[in-house]
Point group: D3
Chain length 277, copies 6
């Protein structure tokens, strides 16, 4: 559950974006103010739900008189037809808040569902699926939360909470050793260091200098298997690059600790959720 202090500004901004300068002119014109209504949020396809607090906040900000009663909790799996929440109160508020609530709920549930898809494929291993910084601008905190709701683990939240030395850093710094030595000199005692390794030949050097994690980039499952053997528990191992729902299992069974997948945040389908009155 994310703190309301972080999600309220997002929802408020989304509502203001939708209301524009004149507000919901259709509802104002067509729906009398006194009419009450009951509505349900219904899944139109199977998936994993995420974003109930954001949907609740959307309706609450539009009209504090609306009651939002979730039927389940974030992370729950649903089938097509399952009721996700009930909303009751002034009809105008339900109609005005509907789109923003659904936009958040569908987007985040889509991410949770995509993550869940991979997590299920690798559930028999000790490997976990993790996200990247390839998130939608402005929505990183909630998208990372959706990954957790789908059974995934979180990678860095930004450029500032861990050191991740990539190929470009190494090239510019003048080699892996130079980069790592500088990183270790600068890192605070609670900051972990991960280094990207594109070839098995770099791996022993990286681990022997001392890193918290190695990012095995664009390797085959066989190469990852070999890399895990070389590392031998001296660092966390993460496989990355082009991993799909189909190949996830092969990677996970190599014994690697994590597989990281960008598309669960940047290219997940929206989960189809409807509002019925």
């Amino acid at each position: 559950m994310l703190p309301l202090l972080l999600i309220e500004p997002l929802v408020r901004a989304a509502l203001v974006e939708d209301l524009g300068r004149a507000g919901d002119i259709t509802t104002a014109a067509v729906v009398p103010q006194h009419i009450q209504a009951e509505a349900i949020l219904v899944a139109r396809q199977p998936g994993t739900i995420c974003g109930l607090d954001l949907a609740a906040t959307a309706f609450h900000l539009v009209d504090p008189g609306l009651r939002f009663s979730p039927s389940l909790r974030d992370s729950a799996r649903v089938e097509a037809g399952d009721v996700i929440a009930r909303i009751g109160g002034p009809a105008r508020g339900i109609l005005t808040g509907e789109r923003v609530a659904l936009n958040f709920l569908g987007h985040l549930s889509g991410i949770a569902t995509a993550t869940r898809g991979i997590a299920d494929k690798i559930a028999h291993t000790n490997c976990r699926v993790t996200c990247t910084r390839k998130t939608t601008p402005g929505l990183r905190a909630v998208e990372k939360y959706a990954v957790r709701c789908g059974g995934g683990a979180n990678h860095r939240f930004g450029l500032d909470d861990a050191i991740l030395i990539k190929d470009n850093h190494i090239a510019i710094a003048g080699g892996l050793r130079a980069a790592l030595v500088r990183a270790r000199a600068h890192a605070g005692h609670l900051v972990k260091i991960e280094v990207e390794v594109d070839a098995l030949s770099q791996l022993e050097e990286a681990v022997s200098i001392g890193v918290d994690a190695v990012l095995l980039d664009n390797m085959t499952p066989a190469e990852v298997f070999e890399a895990v053997r070389i590392v031998a528990g001296r660092a966390i191992t993460e496989a990355s690059g082009g991993i799909t729902l189909q190949t996830a299992q092969d990677f996970a069974e190599t014994g690697v600790d994590l597989i990281s997948v960008g598309w669960i945040t940047h290219s997940a389908f929206t989960l189809d959720i409807g509002l019925d009155i």
Copy 2:
């Protein structure tokens, strides 16, 4: 081209989201301040580009000393391997701005590419593809712009710039006629009115009362064809509901003016674009 006044706050917020409180600690530790670099943005798959101004703004905000030189313009089609832009200047700035620039560029190019895909399928007709309000919270203006770059047309930007009477409005208002009469009484002279029609039986009534457009929801191409015949040019016709890349042509060939597709904004894949130094 969107005004800088609208995109600069988005890019700034995305950078602050990524920088967090401590900034890019990897680059600060590993890359000496004086090093200059040249980088290129390269398409890794075919598509339609959108978001160059946002990428340029990202690098400019990180370091005004960076030069960003696009090789093409928004709306351009690219093949895998095509250079999209060149960035030159302090290496630190390139590395720090990379992810935010790519997140915008990939996301918006993905929308443009998805839209282009449909637009190409229906190019032989007078029908156009249009978007919906199912956009990512906070990014509506730029996503709508991406739709235009992909050859699509824009639907409403929000709840306030046109009246769109949907099934729920009609139900609550007590029927189509009541809803339309109220809408016409309230609408300013520059506000158009569109009404959702779920069955052909409602269509003649709607058009005879007078509307600017009719939304033909969840109809088959055959039903849409019949609807277009009934409307007979008295209103703009828009088909909506479950239209895919495969079925777009069938709908377009009915003579309908517009097909609206939610997934080009809410579920488009990110276009794969890389930064090479």
Copy 3:
């Protein structure tokens, strides 16, 4: 009624502007904290009220313990001496919130009253009075709302919700036809197009190319009458330019659909409203 999401930030900003860094130092010094008071808002001159929600929000933000009970609703006409609302609770809050509440209420009621003045003059016709974009920076949404409370209709809310081609656009575009053709090619299907016509000779061309509305600028009532005859219902007609409370009726009786008046928003007198304890 405007959504609270849109008016709350305005009222909050106005209060912070008035409170400065040290708050209401007079009240803090002079009025003991425990004192309760009852106050009334009273019209000191006849007019049309607008802004009750903003006044209520001002007192509520200063002290949630204050009760604000309006005696009437926005759009109501008042005579001098009429009670508009009652406020009860801690005296400090009433005194601190008074000025901001009155500044909004007086300003918006002034606009509503000015609009009402014209609307009454033309009530026997089918013509309506409409506003312009000549609004006070920052207050467009609420000023447009005040126009509606005064019986007027709203023109564009901004540069983005309709196309209005003015003389300068036509000159730069190379003529009326060129401008209109470009506009029709770019406009979304829910965007209306209005074109300014300074001479009757341009009118037939404009209407025959196809526009939603024509802006008849700086014409005499006789010219407007002739223009309405030429248009013959093929477009909405709007007369504009130097229309006063005295000449409004002459214009309205030409059969024109709308008269637009900038001064109802940019030069309306504030309605005199007082707070009596």
Copy 4:
């Protein structure tokens, strides 16, 4: 001259209010990007100019490539037909920025002109005209500046920069003496204290307790004359309440130090200024 740090956010917000989500769709559709233009801002009626920096900032924010060359400075008097400034550069930017620039310039020049009108009437006395806190929400700083440009003096900028004890404060505090004693105990050494006096009988008490200024509310010129005699230089004297352009001179000639007038900020007419290309 106001600091750019204070006016830039105002202008930026006004532009964003006008641009909405889609920007200036008329100009984008109708005016080719490469066209350059020259425009002039011209006074359409006589008055006193105020707001050139805000107008310049509006054009600069829309397009930094625009050149804004004022022909005169804030506080200058103009006749109908006088050129106020020249703007050159991309035609699109001129058309997009025009309305916001004119809205600020017209509104503030209107206030300056109204103030100048009174200032001229009382120029032969030592009396000055001053404003109140009856300003447009959000624009207090610039409206107070406009008053100075019109030859007026500024009253309090907010609730926090001086103590002004009004009738309601006195009533609640239990009398003038009690209120003044409390105020003097709380006021910092750089905070002045002014007290409203509704009857001459209170005046001697107020002055003898010690105040920096007395606000003579709703008195006739004869009463003000008598009040000035009683005060005899022991405090600054300010007349207030219903003072008009016609009666200003009578009040000023009583020897009072200041006359305060709310309508120069809350009910001034906009000065008519046009932009010709």
Copy 5:
């Protein structure tokens, strides 16, 4: 007591600064959601308390379900071990809000305590201790409030609420007389003028031209005594420059009205306050 409108944004920003993008990950991981707790805020050293409203707001914003019950009021003196407030409710909220609440409370109580230290030393005189503009960026309003809670008086809140002519102004303006004449011509009737005097020889000139206050900068107590004699009640006198807890009494006993001390805001120790569960 400061208005909630001014302190809420400060507390909200501080919480968001502490929560970052992922929130309180320790508490989320370690503390079950249903656990309730009771906590007390306890002084660990003697001092004067300031900031209870900010602490209450911090806990309230983290979880509106938390109860915050202060045992005393701002300005109260405490001994080590005294309970300042009790907080009850969900354990998670207490742990998440603790640091921000304590950071405000400790910082402001430190300022109040430092001020109180001087105020006590000079309590037998008519002299008061006052603060400067040497405050922590962003916290001026609350730090000035802390000075009041410690028995001090407030100097200017900013560059805009009084005129304070310093040595650099005099040098640039071409002398004391020139500076003062210009200042008096520009100052509104509720704006006081204070002038810095570095040598007794300037003092008579300043007072005879007419100022509200003189700032006696970097003088010895003997010089201040002489200055007070020269001024002879014609202006408020303020001693400034290097005044310590040890020398405060010597200055105060000269008869000077105020001693201003920068370090009570910029270099006060934080008061040690703990939260015990």
Copy 6:
């Protein structure tokens, strides 16, 4: 060096706080607009400088025409009398920006100097001094940067970038083991876990379960020495609680990796820096 994207909003807000609504009324009244000046920032006492970019930004935001030329870089040590930077350009801008520039520079240099004091005392050991989350609300990022400039290391930047299990967490979670097990299950692979240990008896358990760091709270140097021996390199060791400039060396010589000190951020004296024209 911190990114301008993070410091510019801080400096802008501080300037707006100081300018208030009317700006620098002293300078506007007293200093003619055309006067140019040269000024120097001079250290009035020995110390370590931090904040030059913030000072430069302050002057730049007040007037982009000002030139700011630092004579040294952040982290440099200065003696009393050393010139820190030169500022040239319009005199008004120098006077208006002075206080905000000095407030940042003095505050951050004070923190750097305090940190440097401890860092020098322990320079002969492998121990480093680190900060806490006891920072001034709103200034955490820059205060943490000042600690680095003083030769210190940074602890957590917020609640979200590392797990730190304190005594209250352990008590509520039902013991050290329960807390640690939960923490390890939730932590992302780049998140470190530190646990507070108040007694040596808990230490072996903590280390054997597996933690990245142990916080040895309120122990004597002798106890810390013993703790370091027990940990034997299996975790990072941090001593905390009541460490002063006098006792820092004793703690550092125990072999502990870090000593954390709250007062270097929350109670450091401001470094005395002056601006001479």
